[in-house]
Amino acid sequence: MLEVPLLLLPAARFQLETFNLKLETLFMAATELDVKYVANLARIALTPDEEKKLGAQLGNILGYIEKLRELDVSNVEPTAHAVPMVNVTRADEIRPSLSHEDALRNAPRQANGLFIVPKVVE
């Protein structure tokens, strides 16, 4: 019923190791919402208390949204936008945009006109 084909790809394995997750954890996630795993995908650090509370609440909400499976929608097209607008383009020309200074105005850390981030490569 639920497939996790990406798990078989080397890139996904690499990601798994990066997140320090075991394969079993993921297969568990295939049958119920593993809050720890999904929070990691969403880049949100949770306290153990939050994990517990969220798990129960999300279980409740997921139980409710299961009702959508009652409907046969095999011949229905999905709606992404209620007022479909496709291929909205403009002329490819340079126009005024946010200045360098304004773009950096709200940065938590900056220097030399750049955002400062933790070291990414050795």
Binding site: T47, E50, I61, L71, V73, V76, T79, A82, P108, P118
Partner: protein
Amino acid sequence: MLNQLTISELAAKLLHRKVSSREAMQACLDQIARVDGTIHAFISHNAADALAQADAADKQIASGVIKPLLGVPIAIKDVLAVKGQPLNCASKILGNFTSTYDATAIEKLKAAGAIIFGRCNMDEFAMGSSTENSAFGVTRNPWDTSRIPGGSSGGSAAAVAADECIASLGTDTGGSIRQPAALCGVVGMKPTYGRISRYGLVAFASSLDQIGPFTKDVRDSAILLGAMSGVDPRDSTSVPQPVPDYTKALTGNVRGLKIGLPKEYMIGGLDAEVKAAVDTAVKKFTELGAEIVEISLPHTDYAVAVYYIIATAEASSNLARFDGIRYGARIEGNDPLELYSKTRGAGFGDEVKRRIILGTYVLSSGYHDAYYLQAQKVRTLIRNDFLKAFETVDAIITPTTPTAAFKIGEKSGDPLQMYLSDIFTISCNLAGIPGISVPCGFTKNPKLPIGLQLLGKPFGEETMLRLAHAYEQATAWQREKPPL
């Protein structure tokens, strides 16, 4: 009391130099000083800046400039960018963020002469139905301060109800304008998706979000809709549809219009007093010459489930930008991943975390088709229900909410119960159609406002406003003021 005036009343007085914009602005500031310690409709406001804008408007008026909103104070939900003003989305994660540009809707209101002031409280990132999910404290309902004002635009609704401003702006993703308008006894409108540009609106669910006005009557709603509508090259989902003078639609004549009454909306969970008020309103429309037709929206029961998949999925993607790198608060980490996780863990509140995690889950590998795609398909069925109904009726009438305002804390521990309080407003966003809530009575004890919802065809705001205005003229519920 100048702060109690509507836009059209104040604009007329300003035009004829009966009052100054400074006097009107000062009256709003005095009311804020008097009541906002209790109501807390505003996260912040800059009185000096507001008065400077008023003085500038007075100068223009004195030199004979005529603009539709010249000198009219309008308060703004803390999710819309106003150049030079703070923008927090009622969240800790934005830190000391200050907007570097104006949202298109704000730009248009400024061009029409409005004074743009104050940051109205809201549920964090517009996620909630009670304004209890704000990192800046709860907002209280002006009609009963032990109760919630609704949400997510609770501050904008309370500010208008308490006469702390002449009108305000909110945003509506699943009812966040109409529901608080109903619970605070003011007029709140969500326009058709694409009617008003979303540029400069911090995105929650991009396929559902719309900006709209909170006003003291329907005429003001028409005025602000006209001032903000129109296609915008900076929002590719804004629709190139002509913008009429919406006030021209307010003829008072609704004879022969057909209004659909969906049978699915008159069942379980609907409070008896709310039902009675809506039944009476339906009768009033018959007296006014409109024809009431029973209709069916068979997929109504699935709307909340569809909404909480689509809205959270879009939110999980939109809120990825709050990562502590380019703006807002940051908690340092040894590597970027740790920085993101710590910043987001500390910066987002409970409801936002809940929705991002749910949205991430329904989009994750292996679950996308079962949840997200399924929800998008059911969304088609919900939209088709409305389009089919609109083949025979000109508008649809429903209660705005199943109950009047609930107590602070009553539903905050049970997210699902909170979600279900939006049951009558959510379908409108999924279908992309316009909706308006107008006051239609009060509960007896305690006295709390009840809202009537009118839904229109896509870009059918004129007919919707005509009906709402005719009803308002025949009843005048909107003139009642809260005991402050």
